[in-house]
């Protein structure tokens, strides 16, 4: 990875966020597991069908969509695809101001909040849910769809081997409102400029990012390599039902702003989102507060 002509880091693995769903729960709800929701409207309709009472006691015990609502770094990875697909963004392109005052942003924010408040297709307790708790909901068949990536099937499989995650789960591109979009996760290898052992460090980085090891990472942990001569040619990756969908989404992927204020901006955003989710504020009011506060952070 280069910046101003200088090499700063070696790419490691990449991940794109996609929609994971439980095919057995799709069938039980009368949905075709080979036709995952393509648009956000379809997604909402599917989520409504998947939110139901399975044991006949009159109470909903299965929900359509599980997602992160806690102030966790995992939140933005799962919310970003929706926001971007609606045609909105967190910040202006120069990253100097908040862009959350657009009609598209308002629409995306309200859509996400109403999944919980109005349509009730997300299980209760959303504001306390971290990524691992959401994966547990998928593993325990409490939800039928979640946003996830390469790490999702192995972790879900570990939580509940009885689910048979590698068989029963399937994935599809994130649902689309106006344009295909998703969040990208990139990891990279960086060497400290003050290291006493640059040669050894370089040997290690070369080894870790070598073809064989990058492929082994995929086979062992489902981590997809950034190397084209691995992810683009290895049959293990090309024929994998999850990795192939994730690779297809790379052209639509976006990386979150790499600025120092980002954690604070995201925390501010999540705080406002939570206030809308629990009904303390209307979505419009919560979002406009987030907009003002983010502008104040960036103006500091």
């Amino acid at each position: 990875m280069k910046h101003n002509g200088k090499i700063h880091a070696m790419p490691g693995d990449y991940m794109t966020m996609v929609l994971f769903y439980n095919t057995a729960m799709f069938e039980a709800a009368g949905l075709d597991p080979n036709k995952p929701p393509k648009t956000t409207d379809e997604f909402l309709a599917y989520a409504k069908k998947l939110t139901r009472d399975t044991n006949g006691d009159g109470k909903v015990d299965q929900w359509g969509f599980g997602t992160v609502g806690a102030k966790s770094p995992g939140f933005s990875m799962r919310f970003g695809p929706f926001l971007w697909s609606f045609g909105a963004d967190y910040l202006t392109p120069d990253m100097k101001r908040s862009a959350l005052d657009t009609p598209e942003a308002k629409e995306a924010f309200a859509f996400f909040v109403e999944l919980y408040t109005k349509h009730k297709v997300v299980p209760p307790g959303l504001t306390a849910m971290n990524p691992q708790e959401v994966r547990t909901q998928l593993a325990q068949k409490k939800v039928a769809m979640i946003m996830g990536s390469g790490w999702t099937p192995p972790i879900v499989n570990k939580i509940n081997p009885d689910l048979n995650a590698f068989e029963v789960l399937q994935c599809a591109p994130a649902p689309v409102k106006r344009k295909q979009a998703t969040a990208i996760w990139l990891s990279s290898w960086v060497m400290s400029p003050s290291t006493k052992h640059p040669n050894e460090a370089w040997q290690l980085m070369k080894f870790i990012t070598s073809k064989d090891i990058e492929l082994k990472w995929f086979v062992d942990n489902r981590v997809t390599s950034s190397r084209k001569d691995v992810s683009g040619v290895a049959p293990e990756i090309l024929n994998d039902k999850f990795a192939s969908v994730m690779a297809s989404q790379l052209p639509y992927g976006k990386v979150e702003p790499q600025i120092k204020q980002w954690p604070e901006i995201m925390d501010t955003f999540t705080t406002s989102l939570q206030e809308a989710i629990v009904g303390m504020k209307s979505p419009e009011k919560a979002l406009s507060e987030a907009h003002e506060r983010i502008n104040a952070i960036l103006a500091r």
Binding site: P124, G125, T127, A128, K260, Q261, I277
Partner: protein, 286 residues
Amino acid sequence: MWIKDRHMWMVFVLPGVILLILVLGWPAITSILYSFETEQAGDAAYTLANYKSLLKDPFFSTTFWNTTVFVFFSVALHMILGLAVAMVLNSALPAKPMFRVIALLPWVVPDVVAGIIWKWMYDPIYGALNDLLIKIGLLENPIEWLSNPKLAMTSAILVNLWRGFPFVMLILLAGLQSIPRHLYEAAAIDGAPKLQQFIHITLPGLKKMIVVALALDIVWEVRRFGLIQAMTQGGPGVLTEVLSTYTYKQYFKFFRFEYASAISVVMTIVLLLVSLPYIWMISQEE
């Protein structure tokens, strides 16, 4: 020997003093200096900018108020439950050691672990607490203990009550055991009812222990971090954000070292003020 015997104490005290300076003195002074710096100017100029922003920060005032509520109710409930359990354990109870160990157990659990356990118990889908309340017929539908804006802080305080009362109980139990039995016997002979005995013998006998427990508990509950961080991370919104989680966020997540230092300096000043009675009492004894 080149050190005279009467100076030998210095050698023994020295490691402790050095350690204290390193782990307490140095970080404290650095934090205070940091709190007067700004990110832009560094230590080139010392200003009150951070403290001015604190006064204008709506999250800080909310957080301060939340902390007050959290600490007040935690400590008050610790005192009530701690004293009640201590009196039970001080009475003629069969298998006393066993009950003492049981009463101490919540205190042995680190607060992060307590937070994680209770987060699971509070879970609206799998949580044991909702399940129990529904089974015994007290609830119709599960409650969102940590997500309901009206309940979140109460739920956090309840966990903290469970986690923290054994410490108060332990101190007050020691106090109760030091009250001479014959005072109660004499009062009983004079026909004083139990309530009178409690007001005129037990409470005065416990006065010092109560001050100790109050001071230590207030200081600890203001600093309480892992419990809330593990359960709500300050949410929903900022309803359970307390000074400790707010400082942590500013420092470790937002990298605003100077601002976080200012918050912790304010926190320290408040804590010093509330622990003055305790410090005064200790200095009286010498």
